[in-house]
Structure formats: structure tokens, C-alpha cells
């Protein structure tokens, strides 16, 4: 046991805070992440992390808790992207790019001010790459409440959201308001990005959002199963990352532990690679094609808009 759990691991207050916040952030990220991948909104998720960086660095400069900035920035960004989304696809891409550029530029300014005003380079590291061991314990209740609200919200909208994600047209026919569903989901995405920004930093929060979800989607047969597996993977990688980072203090000569985010991202990446191995997918029973007895699948896709009528020739 000593090999893995260094003495003092469970007794440490910062570790306990990290375990709670990391676990909660992993669960919210996994639940929201599954839909993010299914809806092909990974880019929106990434865009939100940039805007969350601006919010987080700004909040740090003004002396607020970065969490407020991460989430505030994300929510404003989500609203802005929804407004932009009304327009045509090309102008939407351009506008997203311009807003992102401006937000990142602002983040550069805030991070510069953070560093110079507090005479430490720690701010940049904390905002961009997270520092889960230095989180104040008073943040825990806020994180938990936000997570519960987000998870309950996701549970409430899950069916219309799923149908809309699978086919907006089928959802519209059943009376699902696509606009409202899309906005509600963007808000959940913003909160999720904010929570994982606290855990592993704003720049890396996409890793926790997309990684476990994408890995889970490879080896499962239903959205429900994918969500459960993604939560498991997210919690496992986060907690293992925290453990390894804690242990790593003994590995390097300086006695300073390596960043948690590094371990979490590496583990996430590994889990994604492993779930891509065909043998693993078979083990998980993910059906590729069903065993079709004498089913003319390729011909089925061939265009056949002309019936084999005898052309009138003569």
C-alpha cells in the first residue's frame, strides 16, 4: 500500500479538497462531455475554455475567486455564441474566431497584471493549468452546489437533448424547441468548463470534458452506459492523477510535486488510446455492424431512383 499511497495522503486537508473538487468536476464534465461529443460541439467547448480563461484571470486580478470568473466568463461566452449562432455558418465561424481572439488578448492582459501585481508567476500557472492542491476549502460547497444543479438540469433535459442531438429535424417534429435546448446545453457546458478549470486549469479543461466522454463512446452501446463509463473514467483519471502528483514530490530532487493537470491529461489520453484498440472494443461488446445474414448492405446504399421499367424503345 505504501508504494501507491504515500504516508499522509489521506490525512492531508488540501488532498481531501482536491479529491472532492476533482471528483465532482470529473462527473459533471463526463455527463456534459458525452453530449458535447454526440452534438459535435467540442469546438464550442474549447472556445468556452478560452473565454473562461479571460474570466478567471480577470477575477484573479480583481481579487475574486477565479471560479466566479471561470463560470461568469463561460456563461457570457455561451450566451454570445448562441447569439452569433443565429447567423449563417461562415459568419458564425468568423465571429467566433474574432471573439475568441479578443478574449484571449484580454486574458493576456489580465494574466500580465496578475503576475506583476502579485509579484508571482503563480497566477498564470494557476489559471491556465490549475493548481488543485491550493484550492481554498470554502470553494467546496459552491462547487458541489453548482455541480448538483447542473447534473439535475442535464437529467431533466436529457431526452429532448438526446433527440435533438441525434436529429434536429426529428426533435422539431415532436415539438422540441431546438433553440431553448441548445442554449440550456451551452449553459451546462459553461458551468462544466468552469468547474474543470478550477480542477485542471482553463486551458486543459477540454481534456476532462472531451477525453473520458470520447473514450466511453467508443466502447458503449447506449448513451446511458456511455455516461456511466465516462464518469468512471473521469473520476479514475482525476483521482489517480492527484495521487501520482502527490507521490511525485518524492520522485524529483526539488521535493516539489509535479502538476496534477499533467498526470490527469496523460491518463485521459492513455484511456482514449486504449479504448481505440480493437480488442478492447470487442471485449466491451461494442457492436460494429450486426451480423447480417445475407443482407445486401452495400447495394442498399446505391442510388436506385429509377425502377427497372422497360424503356419504351422502338
Amino acid at each position: 500500500m505504501h508504494l501507491l499511497f504515500e504516508p499522509g495522503f489521506f490525512a492531508s486537508g488540501p488532498v481531501r479538497t482536491a479529491v472532492v473538487i476533482g471528483g465532482v468536476a470529473a462527473v459533471v464534465s463526463a455527463v456534459v462531455g458525452v453530449f458535447t461529443v454526440v452534438r459535435s460541439q467540442s469546438f464550442a467547448g474549447h472556445a468556452l475554455t478560452d473565454i473562461a480563461t479571460t474570466g478567471g484571470s480577470g477575477a484573479f486580478y480583481l481579487g475574486f475567486n477565479p471560479l466566479a470568473g471561470f463560470i461568469g466568463g463561460g456563461v457570457v461566452g455561451a450566451g454570445a455564441m448562441d447569439l452569433i449562432g443565429v447567423q449563417r455558418v461562415r459568419s458564425r465561424d468568423v465571429a467566433t474566431g474574432i471573439v475568441l481572439g479578443a478574449a484571449t488578448g484580454l486574458a493576456a492582459l489580465f494574466l500580465y497584471l496578475d503576475t506583476t501585481s502579485s509579484a508571482t508567476t503563480g497566477a498564470t500557472q494557476q489559471i491556465l493549468f490549475g493548481s488543485i492542491f491550493t484550492i481554498d476549502r470554502s470553494t467546496v460547497p459552491v462547487v458541489v452546489v453548482l455541480s448538483v444543479v447542473t447534473l439535475v438540469g442535464m437529467a431533466v433535459i436529457r431526452r429532448p437533448l438526446l433527440l435533438h442531438s441525434v436529429s434536429p429535424e426529428l426533435a422539431t417534429v415532436r415539438g422540441v424547441a431546438g433553440r431553448g435546448i441548445g442554449l440550456a446545453f451551452m449553459l451546462a457546458l459553461a458551468v462544466s468548463v468552469g468547474l474543470s478549470s478550477v480542477a485542471i486549469g482553463s486551458i486543459l479543461s477540454t481534456a476532462l470534458l472531451i477525453g473520458p466522454a470520447a473514450a466511453a463512446l467508443r466502447v458503449t452501446r447506449s448513451i446511458g452506459a456511455a455516461t456511466v463509463v465516462a464518469c468512471g473514467l473521469g473520476i479514475a483519471t482525476t483521482w489517480l492523477g492527484i495521487l501520482l502528483a502527490y507521490d511525485s514530490a518524492d520522485w524529483v530532487r526539488s521535493g516539489q510535486g509535479l502538476p496534477v493537470s499533467f498526470f490527469i491529461v496523460v491518463l485521459t489520453f492513455l484511456s482514449y488510446l486504449v479504448t481505440g484498440v480493437p480488442a478492447v472494443r470487442r471485449l466491451a461488446g461494442r457492436p460494429g455492424r450486426h451480423p447480417a445474414p445475407a443482407d445486401p448492405a452495400p447495394a442498399d446504399r446505391a442510388p436506385a431512383d429509377r425502377a427497372p421499367a422497360a424503356p419504351a424503345e422502338g
Binding site: 433535459i157 433527440l163 426529428l170 457492436p287 424503356p311
Partner: protein, 271 residues
């Protein structure tokens, strides 16, 4: 009660950018009837179906379901859109998509009841989808996906099932299977069917009525009433012949006339 039509399309007109898409199109569908909406590509079939579903507002005219305005009975319509793109990377089983036909619009935590789960299984059997009920819908062939989409539309017990070009991009074998399936489901479940197609021959054995659409105008009735040289010539505004060969129908324009708007017009070589 039974003589109230399930669907009344009453002088529907649509113009877009100064061009008339639909010009006073009227027809009725009664309980259990199988109706083909026939017309070449771009003639306004999808527009008409979307108006019937309430997804688009007509310029003029009115749609009534069971004699009442559409909004009252929107739940009574089932719809299979054209070109539903189902992603093979999404873990959604055929069974899940059918179940979303029951509660895909519903918010909240409610679990599916035993009756609902039984209803899903019943529909999977009705469309012969048992074999791939647990496969990802995105990985199925076009014909198989079409069956699942039909079950998705039927599971909420609509009175009328609308299908937009369900036979396009299927091989001839699958076309026959889907047509036979729809005919059987329509009879077994007492559902009226309105199906759009640009080719009528596959539907001739099962169609009770035909709505023949060209240039914004429609002629409707039984196949024998509509698919006639005089009726279609009047509709097209130029002379066309209707040839019946081996149980098939060919609509043929005189050489030299524009035959672009004749559905599945056979390529004629010089006489």
C-alpha cells in the same frame, strides 16, 4: 365520426421570391388510406409535407386534422423526414431511437413504464427490426434505418404517418420491402399513410389514392382517376400519354416537349 377525413389539405398556396411553389393544392385523406404524393424532384413535395406538419406556414389555405385546425392534433401526425443522417459513432441503439418516439419531447425524470417498453418491442417487431434492435442505428444500412425511423414515428400511435421520399436511395429489393411493410403496418395499426415519391410504380399495388403534383398544381383521386392521359395532360398543360405496360405505368411526353417535370420519365430514343 368516421366520415371526418383524417387530413384535409384545403387550397394550400405558397410563393417564394415571386415564384409560385404550390397553387391551391387540395386533397383529403381518410382513415386507413394509403396515399402517394407523386411528383418530380423540386416540385414542392417536401414543402407540402412541412406545411401539413405545421413546420412551415402556408401563404394561403388551411390544413385540418380530424376537422380541427392543425395545432389541435399535431400529436396525431408521425413523420419520417428525408435524409436523416444518423452518426455511426453515436451509441444509440435502434431500440433507443424507437423509444425516443414515445418520450423524446418530454422533460423530467420519469422512467419508462412497462407498457411503454412493451410498446417499443411491439414496434420493433412490426417493422422487422428485432434482428438489429441492439445495434447502433448509425451503422445500419439505409433500408434498416428506414424501418427504425418508421417505428420511431409510429410508436406514439399517430393517425397519419407522413414519409418524405422514404424510397429514395434504396435498392429495388429494399424498396419493395419498405412498401410492403408500410402497407402491412397501415392495415394492422389503422394508420393512414401519406408518402412522397418521385416514382409511382413501386406504389401502384398499395396506393388507395394518389396526389399527383406538378408545377404547383395537384390532381388527386384513385390511381385510375388520376393517372390518365386527359387528366395529366391538363395538369401539365401539354399533351402526355399514359402507357400501361405489364402492370407498370409510364407517363410519356411528346418528343420535343420539356419532360423535365415528369416523374421518372423514361429516356426515349428516336423512333
Amino acid at each position: 365520426m368516421t366520415d371526418v377525413p383524417v387530413l384535409e389539405v384545403d387550397r394550400i398556396g405558397v410563393s417564394f421570391a415571386g415564384r409560385t411553389i404550390l397553387d391551391a393544392v387540395s386533397f383529403e385523406i381518410r382513415a386507413g388510406e394509403f396515399t402517394g404524393l407523386i411528383g418530380s424532384n423540386g416540385v414542392g413535395k417536401t414543402t407540402l409535407l412541412r406545411i401539413i406538419l405545421g413546420l412551415q406556414r402556408p401563404g394561403t389555405g388551411e390544413v385540418r386534422v380530424l376537422g380541427a385546425p392543425l395545432s389541435r392534433h399535431r400529436r396525431s401526425l408521425g413523420y419520417v423526414p428525408q435524409k436523416v443522417v444518423l452518426d455511426p459513432d453515436v451509441p444509440l441503439r435502434s431500440r433507443d431511437l424507437v423509444a425516443l418516439g414515445l418520450d423524446g419531447q418530454r422533460f423530467g425524470f420519469s422512467r419508462r413504464t412497462k407498457e411503454q417498453r412493451a410498446r417499443v418491442e411491439e414496434m420493433l417487431d412490426a417493422v422487422d427490426a428485432r434482428r438489429f434492435a441492439d445495434s447502433r442505428v448509425g451503422s445500419l444500412s439505409g433500408g434498416e434505418q428506414q424501418r427504425v425511423l418508421i417505428a420511431h414515428a409510429l410508436v406514439s400511435r399517430p393517425l397519419l404517418l407522413l414519409l418524405d421520399e422514404p424510397l429514395a436511395n434504396l435498392d429495388p429489393g429494399s424498396v419493395q420491402e419498405i412498401v410492403a411493410l408500410l402497407h402491412r403496418v397501415s392495415a394492422d395499426h389503422g394508420v393512414s399513410v401519406l408518402l412522397s415519391a418521385h416514382e409511382m410504380n413501386a406504389l401502384l399495388p398499395v396506393m388507395d389514392r394518389i396526389v399527383y403534383l406538378t408545377d404547383g398544381r395537384a390532381a388527386s383521386g384513385t390511381t385510375d382517376e388520376v393517372v390518365r392521359s386527359d387528366v395529366l395532360s391538363r395538369l401539365y398543360g401539354h399533351h402526355v400519354d399514359v402507357l400501361k405496360l405489364h402492370g407498370r405505368v409510364l407517363v410519356v411526353a411528346e418528343p420535343g416537349t420539356d419532360a423535365g417535370d415528369i416523374p421518372d420519365h423514361p429516356t426515349l430514343t428516336a423512333f
